[in-house]
Each structure stands twice: as C-alpha cells, then as structure tokens.
Amino acid sequence: MAIAVSVQREAFDVAAEYAQLRRDNSADGATAMFVGSVRDFNVAQSVAHLELEHYPGMTEKVLREIAGEARQRWQLGRARIVHRFGRLDPGEDIVFVGAAAPHRQAALDACAFMMDFLKTRAPFWKKESGPDGERWVEARESDRDALRRW
C-alpha cells in the first residue's frame, strides 16, 4: 500500500517496516527512515519510564493525513508511520516514519516533514515517571517552530 499507518501497543520491527517500503517497489531507489526512542533523561530529571496516551480514532486519522500530505508533496511511492502507545521504558522505540521516493532528498525531507507534523498535530501525550514522581511532558516551542519551514 502506498500509505500505511499503525497505532499500536506492541514494539515495531524496523526490518519489517523497511521491507514494506521496498516491496514490489523497484521504481523508488531512495528510502529514508526515522526512529524516535525513549531517552534515559529528559530536560532535568532522569526518566524511569513513559506512559503514552492517545486519542483512538483521531490519532490514526491525523497520521494518515500527514502521510498523505507528505506523499503528495514529494511524490513518494510509499509512506509509513507507526506510533506506539502505553508503557515505554528507556531505550524502547516510540515512533517510526519511512518514505520511499525516486530521489534521496525527497525521501529524507518527507521523513522530517512527517515527524514535524506528527509532533505538533497527532494526539499523543507523554507522561514521564521518574524518581520524583509522575509529570506530563510539556509541549516544546521548538516543535511548533519546526513547522514554519514547510
């Protein structure tokens, strides 16, 4: 499928995602991928784990819109977004975005675009648990600023 999105509790498999971007797709010589993972620290406190909440139904719709917009702008053969929810420990993968295109910069730019929009538009919320207790992660100005270039 040209566009695929998944919102899931389970871990994803980068090799399987890559295979889907390439399957029956010898027209696209360029494939770019981005994976976001849980860091072991965020701002000041060290993070024991994250809990990711989302808005079922809206999340999938927004991700599909983002992938569709990227596909149109850069004439991607394929675009994929996978985002996890639920409990995530440090080092675990949170999000995968991938794009296959005839040209390398299109594939890389499409990944940057999808991540920038996902960060500010997709209804996910992170709650960090650390030694000082739980707190909801604040949205970052820099993520909103990142949208301006598109």
Partner: protein, 82 residues
C-alpha cells in the same frame, strides 16, 4: 447528545474522561466550553486554559465551529508525541 472527551492532564484534573451534553445546550464549541465551565471548581479553571486544543469529529476545530447532536468533541492539552 454531544459526546465530549477529555485527555491526558486535562482528564486527570477533571477526574473525568467523557461526558454527554444535550445538543440543545450549545450551538458552537465556544458555547459548549462555557457550558462545561459552569460546572464550577476545577471545570472552570481547567477549561479556562487558553493552551487547550479542541477537536470536532476527530479534526482540530475552532471556537466558532458549529456542534450538533451526534458530534464527538474532544478537549486536550498541546500534544507531545513522537
């Protein structure tokens, strides 16, 4: 009825994930928000936060957007996925 959902920190402050509001109580998202604020206490202060975002039928929406019976509305803090 209008189905109204709350997420993340807002849900926790309100201690409420979902309410139903009769469509006769409001005709726009702004009116729905005022109507909910009238519950007072935490509802008034939490819903006064101007960073809150609103969705109507799973698309981001503005205060003037019209609402009607059968609609799904959501209020939530700025998103932090990715």
């Amino acid at each position: 009825m209008i189905r109204v959902l709350f997420f993340a920190g807002l849900r926790e402050r309100l201690q409420c994930a979902e309410v139903s509001v009769p469509a006769s109580e409001c005709s726009t998202l702004a009116e729905l928000r005022s109507h909910l604020s009238e519950r007072g206490g935490e509802w008034r202060s939490a819903l006064a936060d101007d960073k809150l975002q609103m969705a109507l039928n799973r698309s981001v929406a503005e205060p003037h957007s019209a609402v009607d019976g059968g609609d799904e509305v959501a209020f939530f803090p700025p998103v932090t996925g990715g």
